[in-house]
Amino acid sequence: MTKTIRRSGERVRWWTYVLLGLAVFACLFPLYWMFVVATTDTATATRLPPEIVPGGNFFHLAGLVFTTVPFVRSVVNSLIVAGTIAVGHAVLCSLAGFAFAKLRFPGRNVLFLIVVLTMTVPTQLAVIPQYMIISSLNWVDTLQALIVPGLASAFGIFWMRQHLSTTISDEILQAARIDGATTWQIFWRIAFPLVRPAAFVLGLLGFVTAWNDFLWPFIVLKSPEMYTAQIAIKALQNSYSIDLGLAMSGSFLATLPLLVLFVFVGRRMVAGIMDGAFKG
């Protein structure tokens, strides 16, 4: 392992930056473009050559978004749904992951295999009976219809089990048990605090998924006051005018909260995803 080999093996060539730069441009440009159209009036959005820089119409269009649909209410609904799912999902999946990683009980391996297998079941195509069940619970047009099904997932259990089994040594748990701690206390006082970073990222992923979900809220929600932000965008697209700026403005406003969140936690999300199930 001489110096020359290391250096030649690790040198980054200039075109690597060019290609990665192109990929970054492709990732960010559509969002920039969304902002441009969201800040120009309809006449500019349908004119050639297109405007390339943002206009001064942002507040006018944003105001229209708020008057055309109950947008504030939609964002609040989205926050309630995504927030509850994020917290519930992180805790419930940690709990189940803890049981599979650290507790011994009859049927554990078979049950875990079932959990993994459910990941491959395409349940979205069962929307008709899902709707019937929600309907028989009298949950149509309510937020719990969106929250309850998202509270636990096989992916989340798999993810937390992975982290729990690698992070926490059996010695700590045995020591706690000898000290007389109950299983719940061991989970809540010892195991969960140690895997909180992983649970946090899982909660974030749950938040993003719930915030952006479309098909299920589209089927279940009926009245505009119950809409989530995504369904509000659809309503804007439907509304009387063919005002592209309006739909874009709504899309931008509905994306903004996640972008702000991402600025703060994006680094941890990237690390969490990369630290997930497939390392090694």
Binding site: I5, L19, I178, L215
Partner: protein, 316 residues
């Protein structure tokens, strides 16, 4: 330590009933911890799935009667050209979005896998931005960028002398447009999964290959790809399951006829067809039959892909 232990034992011994109750609680604790998932999956996943097979045998109107019709829904379905169109659209969009996405992710992960890469965090974070952007917002932006008359892309193509392409109205155009959106949303996420796997490969292996005279491309083919096998299998299977159930993009692409994704159903996927029949026409039975067909398609293709992709072997 020993003193605490013995005092606790001494305290626990006389209180027989509490310790029995406690031991029962302790014994059912693991089951209680995993119960929420199984309950939720049963009520909102498994039962609806099984019930789909049942409803498919009925002429089932949500507010009116349901009449048992046996396999009539399926006979109708297989004679319905709209079904075959939707099935073809689904497969076409899935292929157009999955294959380039996985190849792109593979290449980008390889580029990102440099110990001395500058701005590595910036590159990684940027590539996750599409993933946090909602499908609804993505669809609205891309539809505008690919618009025939005022879209940015056609405007740029105009300089190269290309006639404006009507992406939304043509079969291929609409498929490409939707595939671009799906690819855009997922390639960064997939890149990060591949990158994580690449980083787990010991650097010494690459160094040894470099000593033996293997260049970048050979290292990529003979070391990187075989080591990525498990994660490649995973992404192929998940993108098969997800890619065949695409719904939101085709729904939002066509403003005027959303439920069919355009006047001639040029990009109506099976999930959208299911929605149209179930919730647009209130034919729950027929919609459920589409669900069953989609189930067979998804499970079939996922299995085929699983078997094929587990056969990736290091090249000799």
């Amino acid at each position: 330590m020993t003193t605490t232990l013995s005092t606790r034992r001494a305290q626990a011994a006389p209180a027989g009933t509490t310790s029995v109750r406690q031991s029962i609680t302790e014994r059912i604790a693991p089951y209680a911890y995993i119960a929420p998932f199984f309950l939720i999956f049963a009520v909102f996943g498994l039962v609806p799935l099984l019930f789909t097979f049942y409803v498919a045998l009925f002429d089932w109107n949500p507010i009116g009667e349901h009449v048992f019709v046996g396999l009539d829904n399926f006979t109708r379905l297989f004679a319905d050209t709209r079904f075959w169109d939707a099935a073809w659209n689904t497969i076409s969009i899935w292929l157009l979005s999955t294959v380039p996405q996985l190849l792109l992710a593979l290449g980008l992960a390889h580029l990102l896998n440099h110990a001395r890469l500058r701005m590595a965090v910036f590159f990684r974070m940027s590539m996750l931005v599409p993933y946090i952007t909602s499908v609804a917002a993505t669809t609205i932006v891309f539809s505008q960028m690919f618009d025939r008359d005022y879209g940015l892309l056609n405007w740029l193509l105009g300089f190269a002398g290309v006639e404006p392409i009507d992406f939304k109205q043509s079969v291929w155009g609409s498929h490409v447009l939707i595939a671009v959106m799906v690819t855009w949303r997922w390639f960064g996420y997939t890149t990060l999964l591949y990158l994580a796997s690449l980083q787990a490969i010991p650097r010494a292996i690459y160094e040894a290959a470099a000593v033996d005279g293997a260049g970048g491309w050979k290292q990529f083919r003979h070391i990187s790809i075989p080591s990525l096998r498990p994660v490649i299998v995973f992404t192929i299977v998940t993108s098969t399951i997800g890619g065949l159930q695409i719904f939101t993009e085709p729904l939002l692409v066509s403003r005027l006829s959303p439920l069919t994704c355009g006047p001639v159903r040029q990009c109506q996927t099976l999930t959208l067809f299911l929605y149209e029949q179930g919730f647009g026409q209130f034919q729950f039975g027929y919609g459920a039959a589409i669900g069953v067909a989609l189930f067979v398609l998804v499970v079939g293709l996922a299995t085929v892909n699983y078997v094929l992709s587990t056969r990736i072997r290091p090249e000799r």
